[in-house]
Every structure is written in C-alpha cells, then in structure tokens.
Symmetry: C2
Subunit: 200 residues, 2 copies
C-alpha cells in the first residue's frame, strides 16, 4: 500500500487533483489517497470546492508518492520560499513524484527538476519555463517520465499520465481496465498533444 | 448567475462530480458551484476525498441547476425513500437537472425520468435499468438530453455532457474554449460510445 501525499493550496485546479485521484483511489489495494496542506484545515479550489486537509506535520509515512497539482494558486506559491522548502523536503523522501499542469513549475522551483525532462500546461508554458530555465522543458508532450518523476500537461492530461504511472508499476492491463471502468478515452502515447500546437 | 446545487453522499464517485465542476466552475460569471448533503458536514467520496457540504435546508435559491453524481453510494440510496423525496422536491424547482453515471438511476427513482430518454454507466446499466423500467433507457450514448434533463454515461462522460450543456446555454465557442483550456479531447457527439459495446 502506497500513500498518495496530495499537496493542496488555495486556488488549486480542481480536475488536476481529482482526475488522478479517481484513478489511484479506485485501486484501493495499492494506493491510499491523503490530502495535506501546509497548515491543515479546509482548502478551497479555484472552482469553490472545499476539501478537508491534514497539516503536513502529520505526515508519518517514510515512503510515499508525492502528488503536486497546479492551478492559479501556484502563481503566488512559486515565490513562497517556505513552501518550496517544504516541497523539497517532501520530495527527498518520495518514492515517486507526480505533477499535473503548473504543478511542474512549482516543483521546478525546488531545483529537483533541473536537467530533467518535464512538461506543463500549454497555455502557461512560457511562464512555467521562465521559472526555472535549466529544466529540459518539453513543449509538445501529453506527459513525461524521467526516473521517478512524472509530469503532465494541463488539467485533464493528468489522467493520461496517471494511467501511464499505473501501467508502469502495476502493468498495462490494470491501467487499461481502469480507463474502461471510468469510460475514459486514454491517450496511451505522450506524443498525442494537439494543444501544444495552439500556443507555439 | 446560476447556482449549481451539487448533491453529495458518502461513497460518491470522485470524477463524476469534479469533471463537471471543473468546467462549470471555470465559468465564474455564469455558474456558482455549491455542495450540499442531506445533513451537511464532511462527505467522503469512495476514493477518500473529504468535502465540506452544507445541509440541504440551507438552500435559498428559487432557481438553480440540480447536479446528481453517481457512485457506489447510490446502491444504498435508491432504497432510501426520504432521500428520494428530497431529490424529487429539489428537482421540481430546478431549471436544469444534470446526472452523471449511476446518478441517473438515483434520479429515476423519483419517477421524474419516466418516459424520458436517459443513459447511465455502461458496466452498471442492467442494474440502473432495473430500478425504473418506464424510463427510455438509451444503452449506447455518451450522454442524452430530454427537455431540461441531461444524463451521462459513466464517470468521465460527465465532462462531455457538461460541455454540451455549456454549448446549449452559452454557445458552442464557449464550450470549445473551455475544452481547450483544460486540454480535454471533447467528444462532441453523443453517439461516440465505445464502452457501450463492451457490456452488451
């Protein structure tokens, strides 16, 4: 059983979080989704969804999957050195790190993405790239994998990346079965990215 | 501004709710997502997502969009006459009614779907059909529209239905723009339903 350490903050993007959590949460024998924020309490997405979170200080597991969503709330957090330091410490103990949308920009500020392949939201790509230029930013990709770090393009791309992650650790058939049960048209290759071309 | 009256219950399906809420919630000038449950308090999805809800008694609006998700929690609720009565009363005042996945089975128990076109989760279709046989159940459809009632197939199909709903009331271009911003491959025709064939 692997704990999913989901890091929430006000004005996170709703589907960035709950697309992947739908998929991981269905696999109850393998994953345990938990929701954290810096101070705990209710955190509200930019679409007014109020989530009950635990303070990061309550995290007990010595190994987990770190999950970092994006959203408009990242605009402020990339300048918050205390928050970035917490992310950096959490990432150091993570077995895998998954980011969705501008979550990769937030994570890049730790320096732990430097020299690695990563992608992000396509509309916000220039901004994300400007945050940390020594990352190997891949503009046209639905998702990327580099070692134990998975990053996805904007919002719904997090589902395709998560299915790839499930395929990598539990096998293709498990991922395919989940995509069928949620009636999702899984994009099985990261080269599928028509949105990249809209903003070049 | 239209309030989205989202009805939550324990063991709702996470993405049934937050796919549509992502889309509606982005259109801040038009929609106001709110989360209710019978008694209020924290409601937890079957994937362990804890949401803060208001009790239905606090609902003030005289006109709203009623949004009913599905999930394993519906198995118990279809037999809960008090809950079905509340749904029926809420539906009577709704401008539009949107259901996702087995939410259509729950709503069918009010009798307000009888004689109307509706669809549901494809894996659970036989069960849903058995709940209320005088509904015009359409097995192969990504979503259906009948008057002011929109129903969708399982889980991720709720996003395609919601984009259709947005197109119907705000225009195709608004819906298309939202699908691009969330980098979603919108299935624009309800006849796209490869999952229906898997369970026939």
């Amino acid at each position: 059983m692997r704990e999913i350490v989901t890091i929430l903050f006000d004005d996170f993007e709703t589907l960035d979080v709950f697309g992947p959590i739908e998929i991981l949460g269905r696999l109850k024998e393998y994953f345990d989704p938990q929701f954290y924020s810096l101070a705990g309490g209710t955190i509200t997405s930019s679409h007014k969804v109020p989530i009950v979170t635990r303070p990061i200080s309550e995290l007990q597991e010595s190994s987990y999957i770190l999950f970092i969503p994006g959203g408009i709330g990242t605009r402020k957090l990339v300048k918050d050195e205390a928050f970035i330091q917490v992310l950096s410490t959490l990432a150091g103990k993570a077995e895998f790190i998954l980011t969705v949308c501008t979550g990769s920009g937030l994570f890049a500020k730790t320096g732990l993405l430097s020299g690695k392949r990563a992608t992000s939201n396509k509309k916000a790509f220039a901004w994300v790239r400007s945050l940390q230029q020594d990352v190997n930013w891949v503009q046209k990709a639905r998702w990327t994998v580099d070692g134990n770090i998975y990053t996805s393009a904007g919002v719904s791309a997090g589902m395709d990346m998560t299915l790839q992650f499930v395929a990598d650790i539990l096998g293709y058939n498990v991922a395919k079965q989940q995509s069928i049960e949620i009636e999702y048209d899984w994009k099985e290759t990261p080269s599928w990215d028509p949105f990249a071309d809209l903003y070049e």
